[in-house]
Each structure stands twice: as C-alpha cells, then as structure tokens.
Subunit: 152 residues, 2 copies
DNA sequence: AACATACATTTGTATATACAATTATTGTAA
DNA sequence: TTACAATAATTGTATATACAAATGTATGTT
C-alpha cells in the first residue's frame, strides 16, 4: 500500500467512525425529545411504535412476531411490552383460533384515540426537531440513510 | 391556510416523522453491529465510548461530569458505568485533591491497550457498515446531521 | 401412532437504565 | 462563623432490556 492509499484509508476510517457516532448521537438527541413528549401519556417510544404498527394494520390483527419484525428496536421483549399496553387498555390480545401458538393483537378504540391525540403533538415535535433542514435536505437525508442500510 | 399550503404542511409532517424514524432505525442497525463486535471484549457501547473519551484526554484526568457531558447517551449512570471499567482494570478513579467533591478518572495502560486492539476492528466494522456510501455521501450525511442538531 | 423437529410465545434472570433522593464538600451572604 | 445554597458524585429503587431456557402447539417422518 502506497502512502496515498494509506492516507486515504486512514481518512476513510476516520470519517466512518465519525459518521457512526454522529448517527447514534443524533438518534439520542431525537429520542430524548420524543421521550419527553410521550412521558405525560405514560408511553415509551417502543410502546408508541407498537401502537402505530397496530393502527397500520387497519383492523387486521398482528402476531407478536410481526410486531417484532417491524419494530425499530428489535431487542425489546415484545411480550412484556404488549403486556403494558394491554394493562392500559390500548390493545387486546387473543389466542389465534387457527393456530394456537400464535397470538392476535389489535389496537382498541382508546388506543386509537390516544394516537389521534398524539399524532399532531408528535408530528409537531418532529418537524421542530428537523426545522433546520429544508424539504430537499430531508429527502436527501432519508435517501442517504436508506442507501446506508440497503443492499447489506 | 389555502389548500396548497395545507397539502405541503401535511407532506412536511409526513417526511418529518419518516426521517425521525429513519434515523432511529439506522442508529439501532449500527448499534447492533457495534455491539456484536464489542461483546467478546466484555464491553458495551457506552463503556467503549467512555474509554475513548478518556484516551482523548491525553493523560489529563477527567471528572465524572465531563465524561457525562461528552457521552452519546447522557442518561446512563456514569458512576456505575465507570465502576465496571475500574473493576476490569481499564480506568482508575481517585478523589480530586483540590476539590474533594470531584473525582478524577484516567485510563490505564491495559485500557489503552484494549483500545489499540479495538481500533482497527471497530473502524473496519464501521467502514463495512457504511460501505454503500461514497466518501462524498458520508461528508454530506455528516453535514446534514450536524445541521439538524445545531442552532437548536 | 410415536417421535423428532420447528415454530410462536412466554418466562426467568442477570444486567442496564432512568430518575429521584441522599451524601459530602465547597462557596457565599448575613 | 454560621447558615444556606450550589456543586459533584453516589446510592436506592423501580422499570426496562438482553438473552437464554422453557412451554405449548403444530408439522413432518417413519
């Protein structure tokens, strides 16, 4: 490896590390904000995301494994996370009649209602977080992040 | 608000939410990978970051509060996080002579050694994670993330 | 039918995190 | 100098997360 390649490699590595840290740091920044918004409603970010996934089903029940696949944080314990939502009356869980290993989870009316309340608040918070970026920059940022993750 | 503005606003909100989720999702993606690399060394991401912060001090001891400020995840309990590193012999903690409320933390020789081992592994992993993005795209991504967070 | 295997979820448990309360020390105003 | 507030770190405790093991159910093979 000649000196130019070496320097390039070192530089490449530096920017990789910087980028990785930057993404994690930005994510925390956003999460802190979202968390503060959700807290008064006794919801965590993963719980809120599960409610949104269930709403996205448009009445069709979701299995635990489906929810788990679609979750941002795949490592959380979905059973217990759903437990919390059941306890709050925002989702219902029934054993699947066709396959009793499976469980069917649906969002309840109160669950939909709390999402309806949260929608404008969360979206307002999100656009406030991103207020320094233009529409084009947001499109670009999304494209870069998609490229980063895809084809791996 | 006319219909065009209304549509634009709705669209804006949609992309805000999408972007926020995209950032969190990408961050988890990266963290999973980094975590897998660190696991055999009995290190978590926050612990690794603390070691890096301490190395960055170049011999100068750091207070707990300094570490906390610089950490990616500001919410973790730095006292106990440092405890773990002390137990492993990678950092040392002494009470600050000038101000006994403060504590002075330095990285040890073994701590520096483990970082030296991890440097190329982590950097290799990072550039692998980012392999779909060109140098220019990485620069751009960093700029977008910096803009997002700054001037808030 | 009996058995092994795969699947979907739950449970157990150790560790980590969030956040409030506490302790110890220092700074400062009356 | 005493009293009170501010600072720095630690501790307590409830909850969350990670991950392995267990449970219950279904499917395929001989």
């Amino acid at each position: 490896m000649d000196i130019d390649t070496a320097i390039k490699t070192i530089h490449k590595m530096a920017i990789s590390t910087k980028t990785v840290i930057n993404i994690m740091y930005t994510s925390r920044h956003i999460e802190e904000s979202a968390n503060a918004v959700l807290k008064p409603y006794d919801l965590t970010i993963p719980q809120y995301n599960v409610l949104r996934i269930l709403r996205g089903q448009r009445g069709k029940p979701a299995n635990l494994s489906t929810i788990q696949e679609r979750m941002v944080d795949k490592n959380s314990n979905t059973t217990r996370l759903v437990d919390k939502l059941v306890k709050k009356g925002w989702v219902e869980r029934t054993v699947c009649a066709a396959n009793r290993r499976k469980v069917e989870i649906i969002i309840t009316k109160p669950g939909l209602k709390i999402l309806k309340v949260l929608d404008p608040i969360m979206e307002g918070n999100n656009s406030n977080i991103l207020k320094n970026l233009s529409e084009e920059q947001l499109v670009l940022l999304n494209r870069l992040l998609d490229t980063l993750r895809n084809h791996n």
